[in-house]
């Protein structure tokens, strides 16, 4: 009966292995290239060691947090009986695989940078291929591990969970699997926050003393913080991003599967189709990403423009193919209203693409907004900051309206244009997120390629390679900035859609929690409804999750505040860690003779250590706050308060994340635009103002902004996993 569904399901683990195989193959290919001169290899070795030392330290602290949370989950599952017994294990694997994705990505990146620089000595195209294929390792590792984790857990739970009713069993399986999303989110948050603080502390510290005070160029080997800066690109932009997108990708698939299981409790065949559809689309999208990766090549005498179109060709090809393939997947699975569901997928892809374009418009120096910010440098740093903040805030309007239109369309088309068909509508929102992320294998490749090119540039500069090589690595790097804009669009857009889909999962977990404590029926006004068959709308009424309930409204206030508080804590953390770095660099210039003349090598390792310690110390408070706030609000305000909290942090955090990412990106590119010669070019007063803007933007775009995406999802995941506690013990 479930023949087609089960057969297609096997595509998921098989694709996982194929993806990991290709990742291994690309890695080996990259390793065959030479690291260049001994100096280049030595610098790469410094960076690699620093990055590994950081990651080791990071994983130690994260391990302690995971151990503490696991004990809590074991208590919840085995002692207090408010959660299911698989949760501690699912939680741990989610965290483990997410960390692993970051680790592999970073390992690859640190091996690839010198090789990219060396290849760029030959030609721009060779540099591109090495950098891009190394980025592809990361892309494929992330999707491969996610699909592996998902399919193995499904197989295991399918064997071990005993339940007479197959539909109910599927619901238990999918909601249990969701909890491995919490492991991934927790890991991702630490990776993003810790890595983000590390990278920006090093970057800001290096710039403030090196560039501004000592007047030496970026990536100059005389700057003690320069290795730390390059390490930072790896731990923040590579390892952090890997963990982040692992979480988005797995989260969107799992949330949609859970929604699918809930939507078809009366038809097990249809239920299996709905549960497997997001997984299979992810698998096929991954295969198509590999096709796309192979389409990225260009002629030997390529210009930057042809490079960009080569990258674009790869991602566009994968996207268009998945649009076509997903139609047939849904048709073969025989999913109810499969045309409507397919349209939701298309809407998701278009929404992600559109947000990427909007991001590009607001952050690229090719367009008016960033040009205007660059122009403000003529009246000094203050107007640069005012205009950057203003433009960043204005830029939120377009992605928000895009998501609004996309969400409504995704909902309505899956729901058969009927607002009251909530279960299918929510499924549509989830599968739109899956569609958006289905080609993550290649979009992440174009994204991860950026920091590799950036590091290659650093390597070239420090190793004293010629102007020509540095120009090529700069071209690769600036290309990376454009593709990163697209990547950010997908990351932000999918976070919003996934979080919306997860809200419904929270209610599903509440239902399971109620049944566990023996609440088999609900009194709703004059009606009595069985808990197991109650609809989402019933729960909304039962818990009064309406906008006139003060618990809901106060939850929203706290949620909105959490987004700001979290941002503020991470901003100040960067400030403090950067301050420590500034002191250290100044100390080295003062105490170690001969650094500035190039006679003595500065103490690079000490700077890496300072950034590591700063990041580790500073990441704990904001991260723990993100974990404990949903628990506290649940215990005080109950289900309605938690729903308010989650929608509050979602709406405010989403807008704040766009603002911070775009303002930061825009300042960065305004500075580059001036460095390319506009408004007086390098060394002018205008340049000085632009550097201040860029420095302010650093934590905006690389620490606080991207962490917000994870914050939103982690808080939702925590609420889901803690639903049992909230149901059993809430105060008000």
């Amino acid at each position: 009966m479930l023949g087609v569904q089960n057969n297609l399901f096997w595509l998921v683990p098989v694709t996982a292995i194929i993806a990991l195989g290709f990742a291994w193959f690309f890695f080996k290919q990259m390793m065959k290239h030479s690291e260049g001169t001994p100096k280049m290899a030595e610098i790469a070795e410094h960076v690699r060691k620093g990055a590994m030392a950081y990651l080791k330290q990071q994983y130690k602290i994260v391990a302690i947090v995971f151990a503490a949370l696991t004990i809590l989950f074991i208590l919840m599952a085995f002692v207090w009986n408010v959660q299911n017994t698989w949760v501690p294990f699912a939680f741990l694997t989610g965290g483990f695989f997410s960390g692993l994705a970051g680790f592999f990505g970073m390992k690859t990146a640190t091996y690839a940078s010198a090789r990219t620089a060396n290849a760029a000595r030959d030609s721009l195209n060779k540099g591109l291929v090495v950098a891009f294929r190394s980025g592809a390792v990361m892309g494929l590792v992330v999707v491969g591990l996610a699909l592996l984790d998902i399919s193995v857990w499904y197989i295991v739970l399918n064997i071990f969970i005993k339940d007479g009713d197959p539909a109910h069993k599927m619901a238990i399986i999918t909601t249990t699997m969701l909890t491995f999303g919490m492991g991934a989110s927790t890991q991702a948050l630490f990776a993003r926050v810790g890595g983000g603080i590390f990278t920006k502390a090093a970057d800001v510290g290096a710039d403030l003393v090196g560039k501004i005070e000592a007047g030496i160029p970026e990536d100059d080997p005389r700057n003690p913080a320069t290795i730390a800066d390059n390490v930072g690109d790896n731990v923040g932009d590579v390892a952090g991003m890997g963990a982040d997108l692992y979480e988005s990708y797995a989260g969107s698939i799992l949330a949609t599967a859970a929604l699918g299981a809930a939507a078809f409790m009366k038809d097990t065949t249809m239920q299996a189709s709905a549960v497997f559809a997001p997984m299979i689309i992810g698998a096929v999208g991954t295969l198509l990403s590999i096709v796309g990766i192979y389409a990225v090549k260009t002629k030997e005498n390529a210009t930057q423009k042809t490079l960009l179109s080569a990258l674009g060709r790869g991602t566009n090809l994968s996207s268009i193919l998945i649009m076509i393939f997903s139609f047939f997947i849904l048709k073969i699975l025989g999913l109810q209203n499969y045309v409507g569901v397919w349209m939701s997928i298309v809407v998701g892809l278009i929404t992600g693409w559109a947000i990427g374009k909007e991001t590009e418009y607001f952050t690229s120096a090719a367009y008016k907004p960033t040009r205007n910010i660059a122009k403000q440098t003529e009246t000094g740093a203050a107007t640069v900051i005012i205009n950057g903040i203003g433009t960043g805030m204005i830029s939120t309007a377009f992605p928000v309206l895009t998501i609004v239109v996309g969400t409504i369309l995704a909902y309505l088309s899956s729901a058969g244009w009927d607002f009251s068909n909530m279960s299918m509508g929510l499924y549509g929102i989830g599968i739109a997120a899956v569609g958006m992320l289905s080609t993550l294998g290649i979009t992440l490749a174009t994204d991860a390629y950026g920091p590799i090119a950036d590091n290659a540039g650093g390597n070239a500069e420090m190793a004293g390679l010629g102007e020509e090589v540095r120009k090529r690595t700069d071209a690769l790097d600036s290309l990376g900035n454009t593709t990163a804009a697209t990547g950010k669009g997908f990351a932000i857009g999918s976070a919003a859609l996934t979080a919306l889909a997860l809200l419904a999962s929270f209610i599903e977990e509440i239902k399971i929690g109620l049944l566990r404590i023996g609440t088999i029926s609900l009194e709703i006004g004059t009606r009595v409804v069985e808990t197991s068959t109650a609809t989402l709308a019933d729960f909304m009424t039962y818990y009064d999750v309406t906008l006139m309930n003060p618990k809901v409204l106060m939850g929203m206030f706290i949620g909105a505040m959490m987004a700001f508080l979290f941002c503020g804590l991470t901003m100040n953390a960067v400030g403090r860690a950067a301050g420590a770095m500034v002191d250290e660099v100044r100390r080295q210039f003062r105490e170690i003779k001969g650094i500035l003349t190039g006679e003595t090598e500065p103490d690079y390792a000490r700077c890496v250590e300072i950034s590591t310690k700063g990041a580790q110390r500073e990441m704990l408070l904001p991260s723990l706050l993100a974990i404990f706030t949903p628990i506290a609000v649940g215990l005080i305000f109950g289900v309605s308060g938690v729903m308010g909290l989650l929608t509050g942090v979602l709406s405010s955090g989403f807008v704040l994340a766009i603002f911070m990412a775009n303002a930061g990106g825009s300042w960065d590119n305004a500075k580059k635009y001036i460095e390319a010669g506009a408004h007086g070019g390098k060394g002018s007063k205008a340049h000085e103002a632009a550097v201040i803007g860029d420095t302010v933007g650093d934590p905006f775009k690389d620490t606080s902004g991207p962490s917000l995406n994870i914050l939103i999802k982690l808080m939702t995941m925590v609420a889901i996993v803690m639903a049992g506690l909230t149901v059993s013990w809430s105060l008000l």
Copy 2:
């Protein structure tokens, strides 16, 4: 039957006249003082002329907007029959009185500045009395006009509205009166945005060219923008604030009255008590404010500290007295659960006070946060900005938690500790806001006194008065900064509470709208409920205003985005207008010979004109957006979308407003702290960085931040007034 209620009601118009009489008396007293030297009088005349020219221009444009909206309301009321016929008139008077309050306040302030400077030549105490009594004119005009408007409208509507059912009549009267709140909000938004852009364009422009480029001190008469800068303090900080707080004050009383009318539809005596209570508390609070104003005096040889305690004595006295009096007012009115309602008032007063203290902690240089920001100046402007933004964001946590606790307590104590007693709970939230603002007469006096002292300092500087006088006016000004923090606490806190209370009024208007179009019953699930007796909870279910409805969620997204978009537009408006000012000042320095040597007087009027034009041009888009967004969302997404929009803009906007106000205040005081000698003092590198921080903070704290409070309430007011349109014509 309604003896007590009616007798006490007359206290309201009588108090209004007493307050206006005292305002007139204080004004006459102030006018008796001399304006000092001919030079001082001449400068004051320049500022006065500029301010009046601006206000005239401003009111012209606002008049056009009011005319257009009035036509729309006339169509709605008389042609489309979706609104009541009194609305156009109520709307107009609200706008008129709000503008009048701003006008009188500004008129007084422009007469008071030279007189304050002149009095400060004698002693600090004399300066304080002139400035503070002039501030009191503004405070008493605002509350006097508001109480007058409220009581006259009540009397008029009570005579003209014919309805057999007295409870129903009261509901119609109170909801109609609410619409004059929209007039006040519209006027207030234009005043705040226009004035805010004017003042900061002039300030930033004057600082950038004068202080930084030409190296001349603040308020130097050689700076062409200096008069515009002083005009700006009057049009932004005085006229803008007057219109703003007129709106808050009237809005909180009207919203609470409407909630009171809705809560007691079955007991007309109790209903009258509930409707009159907020008005009478406002009236008695005003009388007690006058008592407090007389308590503000100090010895001739006063220090800054004794001055501060003198001001504190006045406000504390009024606050404590109103706590005591309001208990007896409620007891005499015989309001149901009057002890609980009284506790809500006390909670409101304490909440406002606590937010003020928190604001002070985060913005005053006496405490760690601002000291830390000041310390960052040692590593340059970038770290000052990062730390200021970070600290500003962190600072939101405390006021938000304070409001959360305050709201829940105010709700529960009025509701008899029963969450389901929603109508009384919401009344409690409303009356907490009324309590918070009950002593506005004196808190506004301490607030308005700040810009008067600031202008007095400008006058002293330009007129070349001695160092000693300037020191005294600086002492008065810095005192004003501390009291302004408290004022901001009340403004922000009351805005949040009032907006929460207004949400319920929106639903009341929806009910009236449904009845108007003939929907006399609602099908809610399997029940059928009469529209006229449906509860708030019924409407929530009927319109599915729950957090799983995508229309609600998308409304929230748009609301959160609106707060950012509005902020961004006003930030950039300041940037552009300041840019025009920079160009003009540079042009004058270049083209008019002898300005910098002091031989020729610069063309002050031209700078005033440029700021005026800039402000007028720039204020339209954000303001119109605020008005049309609720209409558009209502027409597309209907009632549930509008509720999402309003809660979204409320939660995000509230947090964003606190962030912007506190970050801006903190940068300002960090700069002053350095100017007082810390970290190298005036002229040091650190000072330069601090000036950049302060300049960025200018539009934060004086344009975008304070406008957000009004944005929140205006959007809610628009939704309320347009409820008829939403009910009749919404698309989805």
